[in-house]
């Protein structure tokens, strides 16, 4: 069971109040992009054992989308943060580094 804190309404709730929205920080490649970029955008996903970044929605609550950084192995949540960002903020990266030194995920570390 995951315990997540919604950064918009400040509620700390358990998993059933939220809904997972898949991998975070995916850059969209739309019309005019190369086939390779479009394929990557549509299909290529991380499947890590460890640090992972996801989108979640506070569906039985304020309804907002947000980001979460967590460990897929231990279900530890390192932190949640705003959806209005292209990359994890420094405090989230620092929190992960404190627990999982040397971590990396896609272009982030």
């Amino acid at each position: 069971m995951l315990i997540l804190e919604c950064p918009y309404c400040g509620v700390t709730g358990e998993e059933t109040e939220f809904h997972g929205g898949g991998e975070a920080h995916i850059k969209r490649f739309g019309p005019g992009s190369s086939d390779a970029d479009f394929e990557t955008y549509l299909f290529m996903r991380e499947n890590p054992k460890g640090v992972h970044f996801e989108r979640w929605r506070h569906v039985n609550g304020c309804g907002k989308w947000f980001h979460a950084a967590r460990c897929t192995m231990t279900l530890e949540v390192f932190g949640t943060y705003s959806a209005q960002t292209f990359e994890p903020p420094k405090e989230i990266k620092d929190a992960i580094s404190a627990k999982r030194p040397g971590w990396s995920w896609r272009e982030f570390s």
Binding site: T16, E17, N60
Partner: protein, 187 residues
């Protein structure tokens, strides 16, 4: 004119707490910039209660304001005043971007009262009721349906859900309040 009727016409269940359908309540879903002075003045003007902060819920009589999200409020008024309030809001919010919709008849409202009221809610919602207090609103789920609740007094909770889920809500609240089912966790 058609006869107005709330979802369950005031149905009551008495057990370890009293569950009652609250009848017709006026409710307006409001979206806009909650930090704008014009918005604050308009919504507090039509309700006569203070502007709520994050997860706040200020209620006075039939009127109230509940914080639903960073850009959404629930405006509570008397059922027959809702349309009038929409007009008043429109006047006060000229040239201000906002959305307001009368959702009074799309909602069902219940009260859960009595010594074990918090326990009844705690059995159904993934919420720590030991720290929940007056002036707070919690949007969550009760069993399998979305709902919101707040305290309108000592051991007294108001629960709001979609009208289509009213029968289900009354059923689960009554079941959680059945005689002899008290757990006694909240003293």
């Amino acid at each position: 004119m058609s006869e107005l009727r709330s979802a369950l016409a005031g149905a009551v269940f008495d057990g370890i707490a009293k569950v009652q359908e609250a009848g017709l309540c006026g409710m307006i879903a409001f979206r806009g910039d909650l930090s704008a002075t014009k918005v604050k003045n308009a919504v507090t003007g039509v309700t006569g209660v203070d502007m709520p902060g994050q997860r706040g819920c200020n209620v006075g009589g039939d009127n109230g304001l509940a914080w639903m999200s960073p850009d959404e409020l629930l405006i509570m008024v008397e059922h027959d005043k809702a349309e009038l309030v929409l007009e008043t809001l429109a006047k006060g919010l000229k040239n201000q971007h906002y959305m307001a919709e009368n959702v009074s008849d799309a909602r069902a409202v219940f009260t859960v009262t009595g010594k074990h009221a918090a326990e009844v809610i705690a059995k159904l919602a993934p919420v720590d009721m030991s720290t929940f207090s007056v002036g707070e609103i919690r949007r969550t789920r009760l069993a399998q349906v979305p709902a919101a609740f707040w305290m309108h007094g000592e051991n007294a909770y108001t629960v709001v859900c979609f009208r289509s889920a009213a029968d289900y809500m009354f059923g689960i609240l009554s079941m959680a309040a059945q005689e002899g089912s008290e757990v006694g966790v909240f003293g």
